[in-house]
Symmetry: C2
Subunit: 207 residues, 2 copies
């Protein structure tokens, strides 16, 4: 692609760095922005910049947050004794969108995946164990993608927690094996939380 | 979609305003940016902002430019007596990428399309006629999409120019009828420029 303007070329190059955006799509986005008001584009770029500069990770649950402690952890109406363990921030957004869960979350930041070089020590597992020990956690719900890596992670953390006085459950297998949690419809996801099953039963179905 | 952070929500809303970007894609892009260096995201937003603030339209050909007159119009090696008439800036980029054309361009900013309420007066046609009259233009090549609207535009401008001492051609119909110029492969596009045909012949094939 040959550009007669370096301003245009630089902007296309920046957009093309984003995942899933090729150079033709990047050009379409940039030409769209050129047609917009200067103020609107200024607002766009400032919003992105401010977001990156000020965004924090909640020191309790590792979720994305505007403050030190996220809106969910600091909400007195949410049940602190109920922790839903998820892989990523997207899963928090997906479960929150069902409006069926009133506990708190714990974002692992990934799942155990030896092939990708991700071991337990790279995940936020110690933080979870500390929370369970320090706070009066009654129940932990695992809401991980139902894949082999997800099952391995449930099994690993389940063993770490087995001597603590906490009930461990997983969301029901309403989601097809190998599926992606974030793309499930809200009804299936909501049901999989209300029909959660004890971990002993879940592990017995893995083997 | 429910967000626990308004910074995140605002950024997703901004990306979701772009054409072809839904909320799930917008979220994916924003989460990607969160994982990037603050400096890299600052560079991204500054590049977009600078581009919108400083971009100009060439006062000769209406192409996107960093200066008053674009790189192509101000290049002494380009043939000023040869003007290629295109619909949009994307078409300039597509033809430049073939590296087969050494004349200048004239961007109409659209084509005559009564159904969309676009008449000749909304296009940059007067500017073209002025250029042909003032400069020593020898040939005009129409490189418009080969659709009914494109043909109408060729016909309209062709009649306006018929008393001026200029040869009028159109790019060869190497591109399928109803196709989009910007998605053609470079070889087809390059050939369609080298095999251009006189407008009298072209008009006789329309009817």
């Amino acid at each position: 692609m040959v550009f007669s303007s370096s301003l245009l070329e630089n902007a296309v190059n920046e957009f093309a760095k984003l995942p899933g955006i090729g150079r033709k799509t990047a050009l379409r986005l940039v030409l769209h922005l050129i047609q917009q008001d200067t103020k609107a584009v200024e607002h766009f770029s400032e919003t992105i910049h401010t977001m990156r500069k000020e965004i924090k990770f909640c020191k309790q649950c590792n979720n994305i947050s505007d403050k030190e402690v996220c809106n969910i952890c600091s909400n007195p109406l949410r049940k602190k004794e109920l922790i839903c363990v998820v892989e990523t921030i997207r899963d928090v957004i997906a479960i929150e969108s069902t409006q069926q869960f009133n506990g708190t979350y714990h974002v692992l930041g990934g799942i155990i995946s030896p092939l990708d070089g991700i071991g337990p020590e790279q995940l936020n597992i110690e933080g979870l164990i500390k929370r369970v020990t320090d706070e009066k956690t009654r129940e932990i719900i695992f809401a991980l993608n139902p894949t082999i890596q997800g099952d391995t992670t449930v099994y690993y953390i389940g063993r770490k927690l087995k001597d603590l006085p906490v009930t461990i459950t997983t969301i029901a297998r309403g989601i097809a094996f190998g599926g992606e949690l974030e793309y499930a419809d809200e009804m299936t996801l909501a049901k999989s939380i209300s029909n959660r099953i004890p971990i002993e039963h879940y592990i017995s179905t893995i083997g």
